[in-house]
Symmetry: D2
Subunit: 285 residues, 4 copies
């Protein structure tokens, strides 16, 4: 059994003594550090750190931690957040017709690879309840038309609240979410795009890639912002192709990439290993 | 010792019997086929084939081959060309300040990996003669300014002719060649671009990549057309990066990619393994 | 819709005129060749070829093909076989406790990536029927002990015959099949081993890899022979690891490799793209 | 310009407060930490850390550092070492007939990628002085026979001392060093082996790989121990091959791997990013 841990994420202007202060605080309160990862950006003087420590041996309750930590945070003008491994995050999955990412995420969740709960799936078109119900997952179909988009997004926000969703994964969900939804979930919506962004943003990337005659195709998992396919990139990977590959072959090869790249991004998010800084991600892995 | 070979490249509308006719012709003339590679594009009905065969056992001289082959070619409305391994291609390298690709190509040539002659190097700025002369390579410096570009390109064309150059490799040559040069050497100028095109075309791709926060960087070798960074792609590869990598790190990691991707494209060109069809390459490898 | 095709696989001593004879035969009988792939081994003088052609336009029935082809085959002392895409192969899957490869293969079959039927699953321990029955797949549990191994292998052979199985996939099946079974299915049992063979053959390869401190782990799909983990390799891939990865992390990273490598090998087998020659595979892909 | 830095490497039994004590010490002495990297091995309770900090702002001289640090080290029973970026390491390269790794390392050194001095090259057979002398590198030829091996190794040790060599790189040096040399340079001799160890240890790995029919080949950089090809692995990589690749092709593809894998290992060593623990490496990268 892995021990119960807390993950403390910090970002602030760089200066001497931050690591000493933070790790000194934890030592003083008997927290054994399991992982310490730090990054200083020489270009803009930002300091970022992730500390994962055993939460059980500490002499502070969660509330006491917040109070005791405050002076340290103030001294260095820190932004910070803490997450506990025992608070399993609640993930909603949104999906359209293709289910390879949906199936893959649920498999990884079932076999323990992703420490996350999946109470909710939302689809814009097919009804996935026959597949999901036996697994104890509630699903809703919210078809989108030009005229009902606003209403359906309101309904979606309602569902996310009702099911106490922490973050949303767009598992090949083919509708664009508007700022109505996106602004409510900053750095909490993960999308998989089937190209190595920024190449082939927008629709039908495999057709674009085939037409251009590239020799690699890729997949990109990123946080969703209101700027289409331009949010902070979490994970990317590529695979070689050649002239024999038809668009169908790209789709097939891409499926394997999409699911591994998306799963990797979800795992990093679930384990609180990502900081977003100036539209880029710091990934402590 | 590898045997002397001929490489026959064919492209024509697809129909039944092309392979039989071509390989039947070769069998009839006692040519032992070493490699037969074929590609039919279901989308546009094009047929492409590369046949490599031992040229020594044949009962046809080069001139006789052309005459004897003509009826076969006409029957299927073939475009075709033949190249002989004993005719070593003559390659010119163009370079600016960075020499990693130049050095790498010359090393591969010396150790026999590239069966090619390198009689000529042209630089737009630094003088590489101290390095090149001991290797028996003539080099010229043709600095480019706004006002002299046309004159220098004329001079370049002269040199290419004088040194009987078959194809040109832009080994991190940082000037843009105009149609004056490009139109004279269709599918015979190979460039290395330091990004996975079409992402980050144009200048300073590593800066662009760093700014966008991608998790892979790449390199692309392509034939040069008058459409900047948009010619047919021959070879591409990528390497993973992370948030710790500065622009300098990308430059370092990119150097390794650039030289292997460029060398791979040059080798394919030298061995007559590339056909260009509708701005895409068929690579028989 | 893809057209119905036939795949003709040939191996024989190399000589001039084989390709001409084979493709001439097909042209004569109005078979349009879609893919022609050939390999001559300079070391041992073996010639191998795979021809895929549209089977519908031909003027020969299956029986007539065999008769008409015989003289060509005899002339070059060919070993050969032909397979028709309309004869969907029947695949049995054998599995133990871990189901990631089982699930993955079935997903690929359902979504059309693998043109194969799966009538039968055999497990040595857990009962997978709750999962398989809704998909219309019959499953049997054949637990293996020292004393019953021979009896259970006889039972397995019976099942393979009863369900008219063409080939068997060991999808992380943790028992060793004896020659009783293996000799009956030469080049028709595919195993996935969780290391880059020949490194870490035998049991617990991830533990071995962790202990040795390697920086990559791999997976290998191979045909099963009576020589443990030493049969002809069909597909391999590797993934980078580092000192932070525990054995559990290797298991997790390895799962992704295992399923893609195994799926790739199964696809190649299903599409008749593999020839075995002197314990090595020729993979026409 | 990068700032002058010191790298402090620590390993000791894990306990609470080590990071706090070490970083507190540095903060107290005004050392700005640029990189902090830590690893706790849950299996054996070892704690490892690398701290890189600006050495110029510190209020301690090198000698004062050692004295001041001693109590911290004793408190946690630390093994530790410190290295200063201004002390450029002195690297000797040993080589036989193949020079691709030699050339590559020297190129990387010249272009600033490797912050290292190369005063000495030792070859067991060809004389590389024509190539090395113009670069200001002294080279010696120490041919090895059965009868002179001991004498030549003594001579080698003399040269290493005379040229004040910090570490040795075997850049495709084909002789086996005996314990006479190896025991004198623990974790200070880096070898490149042309396979993904532990597969194909010993001689002619590309021939072994070809015979086994693997679908990937690899290269491994490792510290040399007296146990042949079994020392701690620093870096590994692999590349795909197929049935068309002859042994010569493996040699060609392998060359690219060998030089990048070796260069990567040398860079890690030069930048003090490697700890050896129980025949495995902790690589802080």
């Amino acid at each position: 059994m892995k021990p119960a841990t807390a993950r403390l994420l910090i970002w602030c202007p760089d200066s001497t003594g931050i690591i000493a202060a933070a790790t000194g605080f934890l030592a003083e309160h008997h927290a054994n550090i399991l992982e310490a990862d730090q990054h200083s950006d020489p270009a803009d003087g930002a300091f970022c750190m992730r500390l994962e420590f055993e939460s059980e041996g500490m002499d502070l309750s969660r509330e006491e931690f917040v109070e005791a930590w405050k002076p340290v945070a103030q001294r260095f003008a820190m932004d910070w957040r803490i997450a506990y491994s025992t608070d399993r995050k609640r993930m909603a999955i949104m999906v359209s017709k293709q289910d390879h990412c949906l199936q893959d995420l649920l498999y990884r969740q079932r076999c323990g690879e992703l420490s996350v709960d999946v109470p909710l799936v939302v689809s814009n078109h097919p009804d996935w309840s026959d597949y999901l119900e036996p697994q104890g997952i509630t699903s809703f179909t919210l078809p989108i038309t030009k005229s009902n988009k606003d209403k359906q997004e309101q309904r979606l926000l309602q569902l996310l609240e009702e099911y106490r969703i922490d973050f949303v994964v767009l598992a090949r969900y083919m509708q664009i979410l508007t700022s109505t939804v996106v602004d409510r979930l900053p750095s909490r919506i993960i999308n998989i795009h089937h190209s190595f962004l920024p190449a082939f943003a927008g629709g039908r990337p495999y057709h674009q890639a085939h037409k251009r005659g590239v020799k690699v195709v890729g997949a990109t998992a990123h946080y969703v912002t209101t700027d289409l396919d331009a949010g902070p990139i979490i994970a990317q990977d590529t695979v070689r192709i050649n002239h024999r590959d038809t668009v169908d072959d790209l789709v097939r090869k891409g499926r394997d990439l999409e699911r591994t790249v998306l799963a990797s991004a979800v795992r990093l998010h679930v384990e609180d290993k990502i900081l977003v800084h100036q539209n880029r991600t710091i990934v402590f892995d």
